[in-house]
Subunit: 285 residues, 2 copies
Amino acid sequence: MKLTPDKKILIVGLGLLGGSYARSLTRQGYTVKCITRSQSTVDYALSEKMVEYATTKPDPALIGEADLIIIALYPNVFIKWIEEYGKYIKKGAFVTDVTGVKSCIVYRIQSMLPDGVEFIASHPMAGREVSGAQNSDDKIFKGANYIVTPTDKNTADGIDLCRSLGEILGFARISELSPEEHDEMIAFVSQLTHCIAVSLMNANADQKLCDYTGDSFRDLTRIARINEDMWSELFLLNKKALLHEIDAFETQLSRMRGYIEHGDAEGLKEMMRTSTERRSWFDKK
Amino acid sequence: MKLTPDKKILIVGLGLLGGSYARSLTRQGYTVKCITRSQSTVDYALSEKMVEYATTKPDPALIGEADLIIIALYPNVFIKWIEEYGKYIKKGAFVTDVTGVKSCIVYRIQSMLPDGVEFIASHPMAGREVSGAQNSDDKIFKGANYIVTPTDKNTADGIDLCRSLGEILGFARISELSPEEHDEMIAFVSQLTHCIAVSLMNANADQKLCDYTGDSFRDLTRIARINEDMWSELFLLNKKALLHEIDAFETQLSRMRGYIEHGDAEGLKEMMRTSTERRSWFDKK
């Protein structure tokens, strides 16, 4: 299936990501409808002309007419939604998502959907420290990564459709990983960094410190302002990979602590040379 | 002493900070001379008109004519420089610095200087991930903190002079802390964050990860590109306070690890609510 403007797109869950998808696709001439939880979001989306149609009701006809369904719900709500409404999705339709963890979701959703409906998972690595459709903004995709995580149940057609969605949305880099590779990667580059920022803010209750802070502290803790419902769910759904990365980090921090305690300047310098070299890999190209 | 443009200012050590001080003061009409280690920096500073006069030689006459000497050397080199050349500083002159640790430096330098020479310490909390006069830029002071750390050996006149230097350089907030308060604060908001960023980069050697990273990882690890000579010295000179902060952070990270391992969503959410609330204290005013 080619994602041409005549295709009917349904977004389920108009939060920060769902809303940003809607803004981008509508602006580019696609017909986007949505189902979302609260009436105030429905009203907001219509007044902002983010979508052609919005409702709080999971109407079977609305679900059944869609060629592409984008599910932008928290992982556990996503599974419940498919359990309840997956049966209304028409044969030949494609389903994708925005979920930040994959192994625990992808195989399960694929096994739940009716025959002839293809679920091709993807993870748009973009976000903000605020949530909700009111804060949605399709500029967040600029320069960001979009990762497609196919399984052997996916077709070349499904993968192509998902990649072209990422292109239309304006992501800078589109790549493919297995669900397992995705989860290991995300445990390190995203979940561990959030664990660190949250732990750091919990380590000191002295409000006066903000009078003396510099940009390095502000940058490191930006993500400590966190949506606790979403992130606690994501952490627990990726437990194994995340615990592994926390342990690897703690090993290095303990190593550094030992060098400081024993006055080992050479040990410290070696770690700093390694970090300086590796950090250069991550500079924006 | 009022810092009027007729006063003779000598900067010792023309690196990133010394160079940025020189640019700002010269631009504002002050007469700045400098002593720095390498001839190439002397040539660069003169060609850029950052200073009126520059030399690699610690000429007693040059040191002896200065009304205000700004020492912008690494801590251990600073102490050696005062040991060797402190005797040439004239009575009535003021000395200040840019050192990132205080307790271990301030009392020692004050006890080493000749009678009638006042050392009033300060810490300009500004920097870049690159070093050297060639990268100096006085815009780094904009929005930044400048901390004066007086002891009971300092006079009201010395403190005023140091504060007015911070104002002239364009710092956003100028405050006073004791050397001990300064070191505890800096251990948390600056040194611990650098330890974390360095440890994180040491925890994973997979270069491919940079293809999938987002801005949160980039922001958190920006400071992992680090000057190993300077920072290893700063860490070891502030050992006690830094070890205390590392331990407090590790306690919180272990707490979070436990919640993840045992599937305790409520525990995770509580930590996230705390971090969200505390992080808001640090938003730029």
